[in-house]
């Protein structure tokens, strides 16, 4: 499987994502935002960072460059399209995922490991993980607070599109385990088909024991597993 890792001016997690995907045996390549084609790629990751400085609104300017054309086309065709942190914000601004990410409840940047409970395995981000599993993954964001209309959140919940929720170490979801004020403790969601998914925490920062956690591996391994399931439905 060949993964395009998209670089906008201001993106900064691109090398980390390529490193992490490489460690788990995937072929990842950087693609600059001015590219007009994504031929030969089976999946796309929009990595974290501060695309266009996060100016105006986070993700707002990054939805326009040429590469977003083929990204949108791949999303429509059912290929895995994953947004991590700033990438999640871009997917929301581009309308590929519902809702928006706004400033954290306490108005300060948060960089620390958080616990996540896997809510649904029906996505390109969670296909390889059992629902109920508790993962420890670093969070690193200022605008990580997920908001949407009650109607939208209701629909996400009803359709199993809520993938990950902030929880405590035992898996209990509570207000005190919510680091940034996200509605319903939502840390990650997917579209109706499950191929487009976004999350605020950084799975690529949790793939080596020497750095503190390997819980991100299963999330990243979900990308090829989901693609395989789509190609060969059981």
């Amino acid at each position: 499987m060949k993964v395009a890792v998209v670089v906008f001016p201001g993106t900064n997690c691109e090398y980390d994502v390529v490193h992490a995907l490489g460690l788990i045996g995937m072929d990842a390549e950087l693609v600059f935002h001015q590219e007009t084609k994504l031929s030969g790629f089976d999946a796309v990751v929009l990595p974290g960072g501060f695309a266009h400085g996060d100016y105006l609104r986070t993700g707002a300017i990054a939805r326009f460059p040429p590469v977003m054309g083929p990204v949108t086309a791949m999303a429509a065709a059912g290929a895995p399209v994953i947004g991590i942190c700033n990438g999640f914000q871009v997917l929301c601004e581009a309308g590929l995922l519902p809702g928006a990410l706004v400033a954290n409840r306490d108005l300060s940047f948060i960089c620390k490991p958080v616990h996540l409970r896997v809510e649904s395995a029906r996505s390109a981000l969670t296909a390889a993980v059992a629902p109920g599993a508790v993962l420890r993954i670093p969070l690193n964001s200022y605008e990580g607070n997920y908001v949407a209309t009650a109607e939208t959140v209701g629909a996400l919940e009803a359709n199993g599109q809520v993938l990950l929720r902030y929880c405590d170490g035992s898996g209990a979801v509570s207000e005190s385990a919510n680091p940034n004020g996200s509605m319903g403790n939502i840390a990650g969601i997917c579209n109706g088909a499950g191929n487009v998914a976004g999350l605020m925490p950084h799975p690529e920062r949790a793939v080596e024991a020497v750095l503190g956690s390997t819980d991100g591996i299963s999330l990243l391994q979900s990308i090829p597993m989901f693609a395989a399931l789509v190609a060969n439905p059981r």
Partner: protein, 80 residues
Amino acid sequence: MKFRIDIRRKEGLADPEGMTTHKALHNLGYTEVTAAHFGRTIYLEIEGTDAAAAAAEVETMCRQLLANPVIEDFEIGVVG
């Protein structure tokens, strides 16, 4: 009484957010845009009837807290 306070980066200071947004508008074809400047708007509701006194107080608030006179200019307007 309601006051509207517009706070803007001082003339001549870099406005990275404005410049980046200006460039993005150009890239979308709005080449007639010659500049974009960012600012913040604060609405204050204040008790009392002495408009002049309240306006003077709002100005003090701006200097003391709401704006950073080092890098920002502000303008006070009456909304109602």
